[in-house]
């Protein structure tokens, strides 16, 4: 902002919005060409972008979606634990994980409705089934998971159901198994939901994000089980937690290693970077705790750490994607790179830019 001798007469200036900033706000990342000193003139458009404006648009998704990623994972993996407990004959674990699955799926549904601009049309999700739309597939998975989960969970509750109780008792076994079957899809489809977009960091993570997400779901649900269930029934959960932690750490590293070096940046920077860093430490702590969680308070603490780790992973990945959509650099640089690489290899017939 310029100043003058007459400043004292000025009316107070309205707060400038960042979007409208003339370089006053966040420094734009430059392209490869030299830049005119910021602010000195109509910004010359850099080689790489249009006034630093994003190319793709972040979806209008807010925290409920990240929460959904988390609770969906918890629900799905709880369903798996419940089925395992059902088969292995661990009634407390079974009850608690079934109830956990129901609660988590309930929160998920609420989060979904909260996120939709028009909640009254939430049911439109089930108008059709589209394999090309992970959101559609996911809606059906969620439905397919929720119904048996509800039934199985209701069976665990000491509520008077009258004559229905009989039916419930008969069906709860198959229902529990069905919920278990739909658990991994519920825990994993959200990775495809994010990856199947034009959002650079999500799409760039498409090879390995499902592994991160199922691992994260596993450790979170296991952590929850460690909190809710006495240690003598949580052995499998603790082992799953450890496997989840290992899977999470490995998958995350492999994923990052395979991503474009620019597209991976948002996972390391800013708030998402902090979240993911924290997630890693929490996961390690939770994992170690799970190994020694005979003691109740250790179990509870580890469980909380694991849950938190998973939440941090989901919020971190979620927000990293949104960040990557807000800066043209993440769209343009990797696309340029891959285009140049193909051209170097002599593949020149698949470019969107042509001269004839």
């Amino acid at each position: 902002m310029s100043t003058s001798d007459y400043d004292q007469f000025r009316p107070p200036e309205p707060e400038r919005r960042r979007r409208r900033g003339f370089g006053g706000g966040k420094r734009r990342r430059g392209g490869s060409t030299a830049r005119v000193p910021a602010d000195s003139m109509v910004p010359e458009v850099e080689f790489t972008s249009y006034y630093g404006r994003n190319v793709v648009k972040p979806p209008p998704w807010e925290w409920p979606v990240a929460l959904y990623l988390f609770t969906g994972g918890v629900a799905g993996a709880s369903g798996v634990l419940a089925a395992g407990a059902q088969i292995a004959g661990l009634p407390v674990l079974r009850r608690n994980t079934r109830l956990a699955a129901l609660a988590a799926v309930g929160v998920s549904g609420a989060a979904l409705v909260a996120d939709l601009g028009r909640p009254e049309r939430a049911l439109n999700m089930l108008r059709t089934f589209k394999v090309t739309s992970p959101m559609s597939v996911g809606s059906w998975i969620l439905t397919a998971f929720s119904a048996p989960t509800s039934l199985a969970a209701v069976a665990e509750l000491p509520i008077p159901l009258g004559r229905l109780r009989k039916v419930v008792d008969v069906l709860q076994g198959p229902a529990g198994l069905a919920a278990g079957a739909f658990g991994p899809p519920l825990a994993g489809y959200t990775a495809v939901l994010l990856a199947d977009t034009a959002i650079p960091t999500w799409n760039g993570a498409r090879q390995h994000l499902p592994f991160v997400f199922v691992s994260s779901a596993s450790l979170a649900a296991s952590g929850l089980a460690m909190i809710t269930t006495p240690s003598d029934e949580t052995g499998p959960a603790r082992r799953l937690a450890v496997l989840g932690v290992v899977g999470d750490l490995v998958a995350m590293r492999v994923m990052e290693a395979h991503m474009d070096p620019v597209v991976v940046e948002p996972l390391h920077e800013g708030k998402p970077g902090k979240l993911l860093h924290l997630s890693e430490r929490l996961a390690i702590a939770g994992g170690i705790g799970a190994l020694f969680a005979r003691r109740r308070w250790v179990a509870v603490a580890s469980g909380l750490a694991l849950m938190a780790a998973s939440a941090c992973t989901r919020f971190g990945v979620f927000e990293a994607g949104l960040e990557s959509a807000k800066d043209p650099r993440y769209t343009v640089v990797p696309q340029r790179r891959r285009l140049e690489e193909r051209r170097r290899r002599g593949e020149v017939d698949d470019s969107i830019t042509t001269v004839e």
Binding site: Y51, K57, P210, V348, T353, V355
Partner: protein, 319 residues
């Protein structure tokens, strides 16, 4: 090459419709932006503050701006670079679009570069690309987005539930959910239609149904926006770019005319005078669903892995 309409069951009796936006003759009058708003009852966008981005004060395509005119001020060096990058495209061997129809031979021979200006001012009217493989449409869970008989991609406002998935699915940043279209003064009570619904160019579906021409193309005073049968437009566009190269204006290039690009070619094609990103367009867009089968396979493996891990955990005993 796949016609996106047969894939969804339209009998393709009509030629596929599209735009050819020739930015080299655009005068930046923004009549297209205004005509679109008028016709579609789209509200005012933004906060009525000057951006300082040359003459662009609406900034981007969005829920309430379905045509957007970009303004780019460039120095001589940038023009020279653009000429070089356009020339490079030729040298790379592109016109070799894997094309069955013979490319008109031109451009070869003496290419005398015209006077190089000290300065240039680019103007380009952007719009939804009506992609052959449309990310937005593919990922829409409700079927609100559909492929019309004209080959365009349109949102049905009464079906859309505002989930916003399409926003993330579009590699061009076109479609957006209308959350807060605002209209200026208190004295004018405009009703904002379709709040919380995904919004974008419809290729004037309503007008096409009445054998009309889209409002933006109809209004464009310079014919920078040409509307018509896509195949013919692609031919026109190729001829135009060849003619410009013949004049030495090698900065000219087409965007979206290649059926083998990452989105299968676009319904709206453009003649650009610099790299796409200069105008805010992605240089190598790819429809996300092209990789979807692979993604599902990877996810399937992960899910199976999870099941196995769980099984192992239980098999190892209860403690």
């Amino acid at each position: 090459m796949g016609d996106p309409r047969t894939e969804v069951g339209w009998p393709t009796v009509e030629p596929r419709k599209g735009f050819f936006t020739d930015t080299s003759i655009c005068i930046g009058c923004k009549a297209c932006e205004v005509a679109c708003k008028e016709w579609n009852h789209n509200p005012q966008d933004g906060d009525l503050e000057l951006t300082g981005w040359s003459y662009d004060n609406t900034q981007a395509l969005g829920a309430s701006t379905w045509r957007h005119v970009a303004f780019v001020e460039q120095s001589r060096e940038q023009l020279v670079a653009a000429r070089r990058s356009g020339q490079a495209l030729v040298e790379l061997g592109m016109p070799t679009v894997r094309s069955d129809d013979a490319a008109p031979d031109n451009a070869a021979g003496d290419v005398t570069p015209p006077d190089t200006d000290e300065f240039r001012w680019l103007m380009a009217s952007d719009v939804c690309k009506h992609c052959t493989h449309a990310g937005c449409l593919d990922v829409c869970p409700t079927g609100a987005l559909f492929r019309t008989e004209f080959g365009s991609v349109v949102v049905q406002a009464d079906v859309c539930n505002g989930c916003g998935t399409c926003v993330a699915g579009c590699p061009f940043g076109v479609v957006q959910r209308r959350d807060d279209g605002t209209v200026g003064t208190a004295s004018r009570g405009y009703d904002v239609p379709n709040r919380h619904v995904a919004q974008k160019c419809t290729l004037c579906y309503d007008r096409l149904l009445d054998d009309g021409v889209p409002a933006c193309a109809k209004t464009c005073p310079t014919t920078s926006i040409k509307f018509g049968d896509r195949d013919e437009l692609v031919d026109d566009a190729r001829r135009r770019v060849a003619a410009m190269h013949a004049e030495g204006r090698t900065e000219a290039r087409l965007y979206g005319a290649n059926p083998y690009d990452g989105v299968g070619g676009t319904g709206s094609i453009f003649l650009l005078l610099d790299e796409p990103e200069v105008y805010g367009l992605p240089p190598d867009p790819r429809v996300c669903t092209a990789d979807l089968p692979q993604m599902w396979r990877r996810a399937g493996a992960a899910m199976a892995g999870m099941a196995v891990a769980a099984a192992v955990s239980f098999v190892m005993g209860r403690r």
